[in-house]
């Protein structure tokens, strides 16, 4: 069954076109500069160029189920070099948002979990707390792997690089309200 319904495709296109120069994906000349400039494309299911081809062919499924968007390291090489002026890194972000929101594309890419937990944490405390983030991450993915990280965590803690207690900023409640308002506006 297709994960991405027709509606979702519409929603995505709307979002995509609202990015500055987002419409330029329609002007892609499939030259491959993005893929060859990408430092992580070798590990991607589909290269950035193929992602654009798939988007234009209406195969949003193929895009969302691939690991590609989660391997983008946001180095912006593709965007800088693209001769068609496509802001590809921004397209990747839009795809990430879509993936997180609709809980698709988790296949072998626990990055959605990382992204979600990070946002939750910042929402709650106003800043990141690495031990908490990594705890939540492993809880939702593979708790056993957490054990393998334990020696490293211990060493970091010993050196004072890993505060066990997180810090909450002043006025976290205000920040939460702001974030909520942004979320609400963003989903309109």
């Amino acid at each position: 069954m297709a994960v991405a319904s027709l509606d979702l495709r519409e929603v995505f296109l709307q979002k995509l076109y609202s990015i500055p120069n987002g419409r330029k994906v329609n002007e892609c000349i499939q030259c491959g500069t993005c893929s060859a400039s990408c430092p992580t494309s070798h590990a991607m299911d589909y290269s950035p160029r193929e992602i654009i081809a798939a988007l234009r062919a209406g195969m949003l499924d193929r895009v969302l189920r691939s690991n590609t968007v989660w391997l983008c390291s946001s180095c912006y090489s593709c965007s800088v070099r693209c001769p068609a002026g496509i802001p590809f890194t921004d397209v990747m972000y839009e795809l990430k948002r879509l993936g997180v929101k609709h809980r698709i594309g988790d296949k072998g890419a626990p990055n959605t979990v990382m992204a979600r937990e990070f946002v939750h944490l910042v929402d709650r405390r106003g800043r990141n707390h690495e031990p908490a983030l990594i705890r939540q991450y492993f809880l939702h993915t593979n708790p056993l792997r957490a054990l393998r990280q334990f020696p490293l965590a211990l060493r970091l803690w010993w050196r004072g690089r890993m505060p066990l207690r997180g810090h909450t900023i002043k006025g976290a409640a205000g920040l939460r309200r702001m974030m909520a308002a942004i979320e609400e506006n963003g989903s309109k």
Binding site: I29, Q30, C31, G32, T33, S35, A36, S37, S41, H42, Y46, S47, R49, E50, R81, C82, P83, A84, G85
Partner: protein, 656 residues
């Protein structure tokens, strides 16, 4: 107000269904009968047809019409047609007015009722306006028989030879010391692999020897005034420091010259030249010039060995720039192109890495009279084992040249062939799309494919020297996606050729200002009509040829050179031109002498009379654009046919 005795004829056109499909033509015609001064109203299927024009002619003769209005298409289409119909029947054509109810009404609206109402308003405006118009006479001026050709590349040469062969005098101005342009630098030409020099030099020689061509090399156009048929041109002949009447081109001077390390422009920096030099062996004229920026006599006031060596006593350091004032009837602009600077794309390493060459550098490298005598060698003097050719450098890129440079695919194929032929190296062409559109081009593409050249569909992303495997050590590594495989490939090579795109030649913009020519946003000259008048400029009497209007290959540049010559010839042979009487005037009684109009006039048609302290318009130069009228703070400038009374009448009509 329309005078009592005026008899206006109004003709409303259906234009098939173009107008009548959206506008109720009969209602418009009915409305026209209620307008002041209207004596007769007719509607017709096609007013521009011969029977349509006959209606106008017959009515003028039989009803003694004093003014005519046609409600049809844009005046750009048929103003001339109807004006002529009026003239034929003895009515001054400037007592005619057109109202555009097609482009500005029926084509852009779909509400029939409202479109009809608008058509009525537009027609009323034309009727009230025509009542205020005055009869004017077109002026006929003679055309001088000489032509100025600016730029002596292949397009300019073709134009000059065609005109000269037709017995017309041509001034051929070239900025560089020799004619020939970029074509003289090329090795072979695609797709026939003719040697460029073999086909070009005979033409260059015939230019040099033609009795009807006055060759002005090392010269630049500084100013142009006048108008179609009667241009006055100021040319600066840069001082060559050589007396051409004495010099025999023996070459002793440049052999002896003490300055030997000036990068050769002709060899695209691949070799060094002296300060006194001819750019290349077949140069026309084959006489040296002294490059004063590098000559020791001019930079430090010493040396002078060339003067001592010269057996003909032809070297004269005191020669000064010379200003020539020419009078010509037509001008052909053929200023060509320059290569996109590949250094702007740092990721390909041009200027940073050895053995990364531009297309022109490779042409010179492969050329029999180039720096290596035609052997394709790396900087260290070895034959390359692998060569990469990167298409679309700068072209088809939002950030650089938005357009396709048209010639790069084909010359890249030619390079691939030459490298295979001369070195047997592996050749990798990184291309986005292969554009082989011309006669014999696709066949050439097939041929090069069959020669074992590797084609990788994908634009190269970068050229690196960071080796990831032992085979890559010491090589240039081209990284690009093979989009047909979906795999990023790293190809280690010994030489990279960058197929740089074409951009307008240096000085194109400056000349545009001198000639009042328009440019596209890419900087190339704008043609009068990109399809139907590709060698006409928007200014009468000025023609455009070759790569100055956009990237072109040799056959296209030659065709345009010949076409521009035909354009100039048809103007010259007619011997006279009609000049529209719609010009501006400045009332000296009102003019305050602020000179704002002089600054804003795009045709340099206004000068200042310092005795009377007023600005004066030269009527022949004025194109009637109205800029001065809009700019004049005291209302002294007025434009014929756009008088205040006429414009107010028009507004009144629209509001009626």
């Amino acid at each position: 107000m329309i005078a009592q005795d005026e008899k206006i004829g109004v003709y409303v056109c259906h234009c098939g269904t173009n107008i009548s499909g959206t506008v109720d033509v009969s209602a418009v015609a009915e409305y026209a009968r209620t307008l002041p001064g209207v004596a007769i109203v007719r509607e017709y299927k096609y007013m521009c047809s011969e029977p349509g024009q006959d209606l106008i002619r017959k009515d003028i003769e039989e009803l003694n019409l004093t003014r005519v209005v046609v409600s049809s298409c844009s005046p750009l289409m048929h103003e001339v047609t109807f004006r002529k119909a009026c003239n034929d029947a003895g009515l001054n054509g400037f007592l005619f007015q057109m109202s555009n109810i097609r482009e500005q009404c029926s084509w852009v609206h779909d509400d029939r009722e409202r479109a009809t109402a608008k058509a009525k308003q537009l027609l009323a405006a034309a009727v009230l306006r025509v009542g205020q118009q005055v009869a004017m006479e077109e002026r006929i001026v003679p055309v001088r028989p000489e032509t100025l050709v600016i730029g002596a590349g292949i397009a300019g040469i073709e134009a000059a030879v065609r005109l000269a062969d037709a017995g017309r005098k041509v001034y051929l101005v070239e900025r560089l010391p020799s004619i020939g342009g970029h074509m003289a630098q090329f090795d072979k030409t695609f797709p026939t692999l003719d040697c460029a020099a073999c086909i070009l030099t005979p033409k260059m020689v015939s230019v040099g020897q033609h009795p009807n061509i006055e060759l002005l090399t090392y010269s630049e156009v500084e100013a142009i005034t006048g108008y179609v048929g009667n241009f006055r041109v100021r040319v600066r002949r840069r001082a060559t420091s050589i007396d051409p009447t004495k010099c025999v081109g023996c070459g002793l001077c440049w052999e002896k010259c003490a300055v030997k390390k000036v990068p050769s422009e002709f060899d695209a920096g691949m070799s060094m030249r002296t300060a006194i030099y001819v750019p290349f062996a077949q140069a026309v004229p084959n006489k040296p010039v002294i490059d004063r920026e590098h000559c020791l006599h001019f930079t430090r006031g010493k040396c002078g060995i060339c003067q001592k060596t010269c057996p003909a006593d032809a070297i004269d350091f005191d020669i000064q720039d010379e200003i020539l004032d020419l009078e010509v009837g037509a001008i052909i602009v053929a200023t060509g192109f320059t290569l996109f600077d590949a250094g702007e794309l740092a990721r390909y390493g041009y200027g940073r890495l050895d053995n990364v060459l531009t297309a022109l550098q490779f042409e010179r490298l492969s050329h029999a009279s180039g720096p290596t005598g035609g052997e394709i060698l790396t900087k260290s003097g070895e034959r390359p084992g692998a060569v990469a050719i990167l298409h679309c450098i700068g072209s088809r890129d939002e950030n650089h040249l938005k357009y396709c440079s048209r010639v790069c695919c084909m010359y890249s194929l030619k390079f691939a062939h030459l490298v295979r032929e001369k070195t047997h190296a592996e050749v990798y062409n990184f291309y986005i799309d292969m554009r082989a559109f011309g006669k014999g081009y696709e066949e050439f593409y097939r041929r090069v494919m069959s020669e074992g050249v590797h084609f990788i569909r994908g634009k190269a992303a970068e050229v690196s020297t960071v080796a990831e495997t032992p085979e890559e050590e010491g090589k240039l590594i081209v990284v690009g996606e093979d989009t047909l495989l979906g795999v990023t490939r790293r190809i280690p090579v010994d030489m990279v050729i960058l197929a740089s795109g074409m951009r307008p030649a240096e000085g194109t913009e400056k000349l545009a200002r001198i000639l009042s020519l328009g440019c596209t946003r890419d900087g190339f000259y704008l043609e009068k009509h990109v399809k139907l008048a590709p060698v006409d400029s928007p200014s009468d009497g000025i023609f455009l040829a070759g790569a100055c209007t956009g990237p072109k290959d040799i056959p296209d540049a030659v065709a345009q050179g010949a076409a521009a010559a035909a354009g100039a010839l048809s103007l010259i042979d007619k011997g006279r031109v009609i000049i529209e009487p719609i010009t501006s005037e400045i009332n000296p009684e009102v003019c305050a002498g602020c000179q704002l109009c002089i600054m804003t006039c795009p045709y340099t048609a206004i000068h200042f009379d310092s005795e009377r302290n007023v600005s004066v318009i030269t009527e022949e130069l004025c194109k009637g654009c109205g800029t001065c009228v809009a700019g004049c703070p005291s209302g002294a400038a007025r434009q014929k046919s756009y008088e205040d009374s006429q414009i107010y009448a028009e507004i009144e009509g629209v509001l009626a």
